[in-house]
């Protein structure tokens, strides 16, 4: 039995202050109440067979079969993409060679962020800037569920370089999250209640009012908030793409990005998108440096073609534009789409509930549990080294895909 300091791979905060007790590959959490980590460590691996058509087989056979499917397929999609830097590199090497398409679990929401940045840019900050400098924080429609320790570590913390006392926090959105409700007393707190459509109009009006005299503005909510924003020394705006209305989320984020850019005429402001589930940010960064484009990029023509609508996983499967879909998820048991008319492969953790429903299942370990790894944090700046802490002979995604590519 030994105690281990552990870097958690299960959300994009990559908390590296976790203490675990390890005994015969069983891991007991000693110092965190993070629900994502607790649930992730609860999974019991009873068997770790590869499967073809639901039947148990060995990994060599499964890899050989996947390789044949890949060679035969005229159009292949890699999606899910719950993997690390090396897993993404291995995927891209195959995608380039076999002319495949790449998307991600969080594609539908994250491409709206991408679209907005491609149109107007933005002004961003990293977690320690948020923690140490931000005296005013505007949270737009975010529950924080996907980043359970964000507030504890970076917003409620008392030790800051700028000696921040009580921060001002304004929540703009429909439903006040529990964590804010519980901790209201730690903050100067305000809540502006709005639904998605009103949210778009509100942020847009706020931005349009920035250059106006306060006395000329009629909307009291806007006057109130504008005064606060302009008195701020260093403010930040946080939003969660997944929790905005997907039909207009790109418009909302564009208004937020423009608002932040404009606020810098007067004071200092920066923003952070609370995204990154299933490590889309890691995957996206590797895609950007290796190909020049973000997710939803196809190599079918021999060179990269990026289109956020055309290469959506759901659309490609619904329209049956692909012959083979390879899902990758080394972090959790998130549900995958299975269309019986399309060959489906899952490279996933051994406890995945759909492992018997796909044409080929290849079990893999989790980065930072079963093998050394690198992942990028939510701000895309800090990357963490994760170390193997369990020894149950599960291969990594890059091992599997490199084998597939070699056949």
């Amino acid at each position: 039995m030994k105690n281990i300091t552990f870097t958690c791979p299960f959300c994009s905060l990559l908390c590296d202050d976790i203490q675990l007790e390890a005994k015969n590959n069983n891991l007991k959490l000693l110092n965190s109440k993070c629900p994502i980590l607790i649930n992730s460590l609860k999974r019991k691996i009873n068997e770790q067979f590869s499967r073809i058509n639901g039947q148990k087989t060995n990994i060599t056979e499964a890899i050989n079969n996947l390789s044949s499917l890949l060679k035969k397929s005229k159009s292949t999609l890699f999606t899910g993409m719950g993997t690390d830097i090396k897993g993404t590199k291995a995927t891209l090497k195959i995608a380039d060679k076999f002319k495949c398409i790449i998307d991600h679990f969080s594609g539908d929401s994250y491409v709206k962020n991408i679209k907005s940045v491609q149109e107007v840019g933005g002004f961003f900050l990293t977690l320690s800037e948020l923690k140490n400098r931000s005296d005013t924080i505007i949270i737009i429609q975010s529950s924080g569920d996907e980043l359970p320790r964000l507030f504890e570590k970076y917003i409620f913390s008392k030790e800051t370089i700028n000696n921040l006392k009580k921060r001002k926090v304004v929540f703009i959105g429909n439903k006040l999250p529990k964590f804010i409700y519980k901790n209201k007393k730690k903050l100067h707190f305000d809540h502006i209640k709005l639904n998605s459509i009103s949210l778009l109009n509100f942020i847009s009006s706020l931005r349009n009012s920035i250059n106006s005299e306060i006395s000329e503005i009629k909307d009291k909510k806007i006057v109130h908030l504008l005064k606060l924003l302009k008195q701020t020394n260093y403010g930040s705006i946080l939003w969660s793409m997944k929790e905005l209305d997907n039909n207009i989320s790109d418009l909302i984020v564009t208004e937020i990005n423009l608002l932040i850019q404009d606020l810098n005429k007067f004071t200092r402001f920066a923003g952070l998108s609370l995204s990154g589930s299933d490590h889309i940010l890691t995957v996206n960064e590797v895609l950007l440096w290796q190909t020049g484009f973000p997710i939803r990029t196809s190599f079918e023509k021999g060179f990269p073609v990026h289109d956020i609508d055309q290469f959506s996983t759901k659309r490609l499967i619904d329209e049956k534009e692909i012959e083979l879909v390879i899902w990758i998820n080394s972090f959790n048991e998130k549900k995958i789409i299975i269309n019986k008319k399309i060959k489906t492969v899952l490279i996933g953790i051994p406890t995945h509930p759909q492992k018997k429903d796909v044409d080929i299942f290849i079990p893999v370990g989790t980065p930072g549990l079963d093998h050394n790894s690198h992942l990028l944090r939510i701000d895309k700046v800090v990357s963490l080294p994760l170390k193997k802490i369990r020894n149950i002979s599960l291969p990594s995604v890059d091992y599997v895909l490199n084998k597939v590519g070699q056949i």
Binding site: D17, K86, T126, R133, P294, F299, G302, K380, V381
Partner: protein, 554 residues
Amino acid sequence: MITKLENGRIYDPINKINGKIKDLFIKNGKIIDRPKRNEKISKIINFKKKIIMAGGIDIHSHIAGGKVNLARLLLPEEHRKYLYSSSNILRSGSGLGTCSSFHIGYKYAKLGYTAVFEPAVLPSNSRSAIIEMSDIPLIDKGTYTVLGNDDFLLKLIQKKSNQKKINDYVAWIIQSTKSLGIKIVNPGGINAFKFNQRELDLDEKNKKYNITPRSILKVLTKSLIDLKAPHPIHVHGCNLGVPGNVKTTLKQINAVEGMPMHLTHIQYHSYNNEGDKKFSSGASFLAEKINKNKNITCDVGQIMFAQTVTASADTMSQYRNHHFAHPKKWICADIECDAGCGIVPFEYQDKNFVNSLQWAIGLELFLLIKDPWRIYLTTDHPNGAAFTAYPKIIKLLMDRSFRNNEFAKINKQAQKSSILSNLKREYNLYDIAILTRAGPAKVLGLKNTGHLGVNANANITVYSEIEDKEKMFENPYMVIKDGEIVVKNGKIQKVLNGKFYTAQVDYDKNIEKEISIYFEKYLGRNFENFKIQNQELWDHGIETENIHCDRNDY
């Protein structure tokens, strides 16, 4: 296996060889004097009528890291314009100014470059930047870590910590981030911008820490000398792009009181503010100062007329310049109590007065700074232009009539404001070899590359003798990397990985206590995870070459 390269005309300034026809021998990736009596030569390549230089070295080119990826994200249109297909040995890719990683390597190799240094890696971004660089093949690489705006260092200076403590911190940063050197970007200015200061001249105080850029510049310059680091401090000074900034640049040279300092992309720091438009060339003032101060080296950051994107850690300057964005979109970021970054797409136009004068100022500097060992060819890629513009710049330096023809095309008022057409100097091939290989190798403290002497790595570029120097330099006949032919007749023959240069430096481990408390208290991270371990680099196929901090010529 020994390869003989015979009959080539050699330009190797480090070994004082100026156009002599001489044979070279390669064994196990290194240059040897000649084979021993019992050794067989297995391959002979005849380079009659060819010109041979060491592989090119780019001392300052933004090829990786968060800012480059942000620029890629911002500009899909640039990437759609330049698309590259995969082949049996090459990966696909896209882009020019922010070219995708594999093609950065391919393009540099095809230009005859074999080593390139990424000059602005923030400490917190080092790990992923280096992993990204492992996907740039065919060239050796290294980084300079950005300091001078990090809250930890500013606090040390504010508390008047002794120089030894600062040196320990600097050495810890170099060692932990696996870099070759330290770069200062707008000393204290990026941090001041986080406190809403919009300008910070050399003697203005940062609001929070009450210290000046001068004090930061002095301690960091001294630190690298005390550490005997391979490369002296690499400085992107105050007031980048501001008319009149040449006065500050001159003061910066005085500020280091004779200590070695490398001033980077000086073109952007050589502006005077005379004339109707309050924008004029300060090149002659700066050149005169550099000519007199032998402790100063520089690279130019030449601009060329084209669409590009500017990417810098200097958030203060990039925010100030965002009004010039073309197309109209830009990104800035405040980063991890280290520094920041700003991405502003930009189109340099020859009809525009300011852009034209910027172009002329860069060339004036090249021609007015007399010692080619102290000035190096850069475009501050991609800020002034993509590095693919180097052959044209070489032609502008070597061919006065071509230069004057190009000068005649720029904005008329800019022509009146520049002395460029009166400058008669023409670089020769020996000068170009200094400017693009020997000089950078010397200032970076690299002893095994940048020359063709015994024990040098066999990084060799072979050019066909062509009158048009742009054509000659854009398409080398052959490029040899570590003894292997990687490019022939403009085509890549083989893809291999270059080395990664890091500086090896000792420090007093006591500094780690204070840093670890700072990390845990303020950054919310375990400081052990900040330190990049060799194993992590090896896992990504990175072969490091350690340069010991034993420079004794400062």
